[in-house]
């Protein structure tokens, strides 16, 4: 189960500051998209827009062809770099919570047979991410990698069609990171969701993704740096033998032709 996500001419502005310009992409169902770019290029903004936490200033985001719900919901799961798990609940409690929200609108708690069933399902997920020994521990008793495993288990419990990862492995050591890569690749194939991952690690982006999207500011105005936002500078298909641009993508290698500025003496440097 997976969804397509389409950005239709999306702009994001914070007051005077333009963050993202002319975002036009379609993410096919079941792809694993790596989002890279320098800090402040709007990677996380893009992710939060898919999440429904932020909204485009202009344009539209479509989920499976219909305009996306403007609030976070159970069809889109998320794992943040930090604070993704609830510190007051055990590992089991954290995973169970998703089932309890769905089954019990008023008390958000389950009892008896319904609880047993949900516990069994949660335990399966906990085992899948390799935390079965830590079932009754609280998050503060877990390492960073284990906390992220828990956050992933929690997210996939809802069987989301889209899973969003915001630098999920950024704070982990290299060994743990490799383990996490295997885990997420397995879960992605197993659950067949669309994954969008923001990362600072280019190697990780190439290793995991089926498609890589790079955001950067192509144009800069030194007098008014806030007037130009980031655009997509690379859009690569990683499923071929070597990375090739996605069909129909026209990289903005040169700034659009503009009238030569009268005082521009260093034209050759551009």
């Amino acid at each position: 189960m997976s969804s397509s996500i389409a950005f239709r001419d999306v702009w994001v502005e914070y007051g005077d500051q333009i963050v993202l310009e002319r975002l036009n992409i379609t993410i096919t169902p079941g792809s694993f998209v790596s989002l890279v770019g320098p800090s402040g290029a709007g990677k996380s903004t893009m992710l939060r827009m898919i999440l429904g936490q932020e909204h485009p200033t202009r344009g539209q985001i479509m989920l499976d062809g219909t305009p996306m719900s403007p609030e976070p919901g159970p069809d889109r799961g998320v794992v943040f770099q930090r604070y993704s798990v609830f510190p007051h609940l055990t590992v089991l409690g954290n995973v169970l919570l998703g089932f309890e929200f769905a089954a019990s609108p008023f008390t958000a708690r389950l009892f008896g047979a319904a609880r047993k069933k949900a516990v069994a399902e949660s335990e399966k997920l906990i085992a899948e991410v390799g935390l079965e020994e830590h079932r009754d521990k609280y998050p503060h008793q877990l390492s960073g990698g284990m906390q992220q495993r828990l956050a992933i288990a929690q997210a996939i419990a809802k069987k989301p069609k889209v899973l969003l990862l915001d630098e999920p492995f950024g704070a982990l050591d290299p060994g743990t990171r490799t383990q996490m890569h295997e885990l997420i690749r397995f879960l992605w194939k197993d659950c067949g969701m669309t994954i969008v991952m923001v990362t600072h690690d280019i190697k990780e982006a190439f290793a995991l993704g089926t498609r890589l999207i790079a955001l950067d500011k192509k144009r800069r105005d030194p007098q008014a740096p806030e007037r130009f936002g980031a655009v997509i500078t690379y859009d690569l298909d990683l499923t071929r033998e070597s990375a090739v641009p996605v069909m129909g993508f026209k990289p903005l290698t040169k700034p659009e032709p503009r009238k030569p500025e009268p005082q521009a003496q260093s034209q050759g440097a551009h």
């Binding site: 919901g73 998703g98 929200f101 956050a151």
Partner: protein, 269 residues
């Protein structure tokens, strides 16, 4: 900074200032007695013990009641009702203001203004509106404590990582479910802490209200005895009030640690 007392020595260090104060008192009392056998200011311990026996274990000759216990019951009832209402209101409004931006926009400024009104300044109004009975004393405690609790809770909710609230929504939670399963358990330790800090002000308001208009209560009694300069009874009463406040504080601290152990893992010592 790096030398920390361990085990028994910690209790010994804690006890030292108390012993010192007791010693100074006994010495001072003896000296004044030697100079003036009629002295009322620093009564010796024996007189205080006799006074305690009189108010706590002998029925009053006129009413047949045991003054200390009747006063304690009346005061504690007022305090419990006042603090209870303030806590419940603080929790409900604090949660609503902390979680729902619409409620926050509507009520947060009002609560901010109310918390700046000196409670003692409205006491005359409360006496006029609610009469001199129990109600005005309870309302004074609520008025003095609840705005602080509301603001404190709303503030601690706004300090919860926003990621948690978003994550809960991606797990399918409604606002209500976020409130009771994600926010409430995490702010309960802070609520208990805030109530602990409010015990002092609550007693202040209680005793002030009792001093002005009451016919029973701890505050009423000590202000009544002031007219007779009865230090031998006033001092034990003050100690008794302190003990009650201290036990309340300690019990709440224990409760918080027992029930919300997760909140105390990162603190020092």
């Amino acid at each position: 900074m790096n030398i920390a007392p361990q085990g028994a020595s910690r209790y010994l260090l804690a006890l030292m200032p108390f012993v010192l104060i007791a010693f100074l008192y006994v010495a001072g009392s003896a000296e004044r007695r030697a100079a003036n056998p009629e002295d009322k200011l620093l009564p010796p311990v024996s007189e205080m013990a006799a006074a305690i026996k009189r108010v706590a274990f002998e029925p009053d000759r006129r009413t047949g009641e045991y003054a200390l216990w009747v006063d304690t019951a009346a005061s504690l009832q007022r305090l419990a009702i006042g603090l209870g209402i303030a806590t419940a209101g603080g929790l409900i409004f604090g949660l609503a203001i902390g979680i729902l931006p619409t409620v926050s926009a509507t009520l947060a400024p009002l609560v901010g203004v109310l918390s700046m009104v000196p409670p003692m300044a409205v006491l005359p109004i409360l006496f006029i509106v609610f009469g001199l009975g129990e109600l005005s004393k309870v309302v004074l405690i609520v008025f003095g404590v609840a705005p602080f609790l509301i603001r404190d809770l709303a503030l601690s909710i706004s300090n919860l990582p926003h990621e948690q609230l978003v994550k809960a929504q991606t797990l399918g939670a409604s606002s209500w479910q976020v409130a009771i399963r994600v926010v409430l358990p995490q702010i309960m330790p802070r609520l208990i802490e805030a109530v602990r800090l409010s015990i002092g002000p609550a007693f202040l308001f209680l005793i002030s209200a009792e001093a002005i208009a009451a016919d029973v209560g701890l505050g009423y009694r000590i202000f009544l005895l002031r007219r007779y300069l009865a230090m031998d009874t006033i001092l034990p009463y003050v100690a008794w009030i302190t003990l009650i406040a201290f036990v309340l504080d300690w019990a709440l601290a224990r409760l918080s640690r027992k029930a919300f152990a997760f909140a105390y893992v990162t603190e020092r010592r």
